[in-house]
Symmetry: C2
Subunit: 272 residues, 2 copies
């Protein structure tokens, strides 16, 4: 007997997070839509989902700090990653034509990313809570001059016509999602280790903490600092290291980092 | 004769960016509202503003990558910084009471930051394009059961009643703004130098680039990496260094960094 894996996402069915969840956990995964990132982690705590797929970084909007906060607070391991190319579609009611559309509903960030397309077609931008929700709402209306901006999947899910695809102004819009709790079944990603460590506010602290990675020839694919909200003047650093934590070089570097940093946690290691 | 300084911001009058602009450039500054961050830099290019005040980092949402992109593309110096504590207000029509409010309009991010307050008062969240715009719209309506979530300043500007203040779920919501182009008249901030540099994707590159700062005892108050969109597999690093670029230690470290990095640019230096 196969137990179907349930995967919590932030947003409704048809959200970009759902695409990432299905890419990581397979088309059979049961999606558990949650309103906020915090609710995603509560779903794991309460046993309402086996796994989660959460956004951690967008090429236009930067790091999603709230994801790190929740990873640290709830303690579930990161088990994989997936990079999703975000392609916005203009969705209309079946039979609607692009030339008929007067208003498009979506999240303000998606509207702003498609500004040139909307202006070029004389379409007025109307704000909604999220992308997939605006597609669901549109399907319940009977207005052939209204459209939603959301994913192709949202269009298919809600029986809408795809009037235009890839309508974002910039084509380099990629969101990186993390698999959390249960290991992904399809796409663990390349070998990677995610670390969080804290250092005091002293000139050479960070430099000394990076020394072990240089010594062991480990490549760092991301580094980011944040003031430690709990301890003023201290910093938290998030580091992505190429390679799994059980490879000798990475393992050696982490052991040495743990000696130097005030605290050090492996958020997850996977792939390879 | 005093020339009034005009300062471009993203958003409308009453936006949090306006508060930061006035804190940096003084209450006499003429605010030039722009729809997007890109439009803010176009306003500088076209001579429609002397200066700009732009958000670069929020304690909940992380770094605003688009600001760095525009700084790099347009080449204006960063001349100061200001940390704004974001306090959301529930704004109503004059005479309205908190108990009467049924719906609150704002940007989805502000709505989500005030979720507990809204749920606790049985108020339905309604999405709008931005915070200040929802306050302006409310002022034009005659509905005493509707409210907007925006700044105290937006409430004052549009003649609205402040029904509740500080309604965000978490109190550690701070946005850091940068002054751009003209130097700020009021708040240049502590001595600081902002750098952007690129390194190839090789294990020890970042470590070697940080060496000069350790050697010269310079403290780093922020570090962030981003894949270089122009050159795949290379990285751009953003570094905030404590101290001005003309101080001997910082100057020495930058000179040595420039020898090691593929490219290195001082985005700005100020304060102290």
């Amino acid at each position: 007997m196969t137990v179907q894996l349930s995967v919590a996402i932030q947003g409704e069915r048809g959200a970009y997070s759902e695409e990432a969840a299905l890419a990581l956990y397979g088309p059979e995964a049961v999606i558990v839509p949650c309103r906020t990132l915090h609710d995603v982690f509560l779903a794991l705590d309460q046993g309402n989902a086996h796994a989660a797929a959460v956004p951690v970084e967008n090429s236009r909007a930067g790091t999603i700090v709230e994801t790190y906060d929740n990873l640290l607070a709830h303690g579930y391991p990161v088990t994989g990653e997936y990079r999703l190319r975000v392609r916005h579609c203009l969705l209309g009611l079946p039979g609607a034509e692009l030339a008929d559309i007067r208003r498009a509903y979506s999240h303000p960030q998606a509207l702003s990313q498609c500004r040139r397309f909307l202006e070029g077609h004389g379409i007025v931008a109307e704000s909604a809570y999220d992308t997939a929700g605006s597609a669901a709402d549109l399907a319940g209306r009977r207005d052939p001059t209204a459209a939603a901006i959301a994913s192709r999947r949202a269009g298919e899910l809600f029986g809408l016509a795809i009037l235009a695809e890839g309508i974002e102004d910039r084509q380099d819009n990629v969101t990186r999602f993390l698999a959390v709790a249960a290991p992904p079944t399809l796409a663990p990603g390349p070998g990677r280790t995610l670390l969080a460590f804290t250092v005091g506010n002293e000139p050479k602290a960070l430099y000394r903490c990076l020394g072990p990675f240089a010594k062991h020839d480990c490549n760092l694919s991301k580094i980011e600092s944040r003031p430690d909200l709990e301890t003023p003047f201290d910093y938290v650093f998030y580091l992505d290291v190429d390679g799994r934590a059980d490879e000798p070089g990475v393992a050696g570097a982490i052991a040495e980092l743990a000696e130097i940093a005030s605290s050090c946690r492996v958020l997850g290691t996977f792939g390879g």
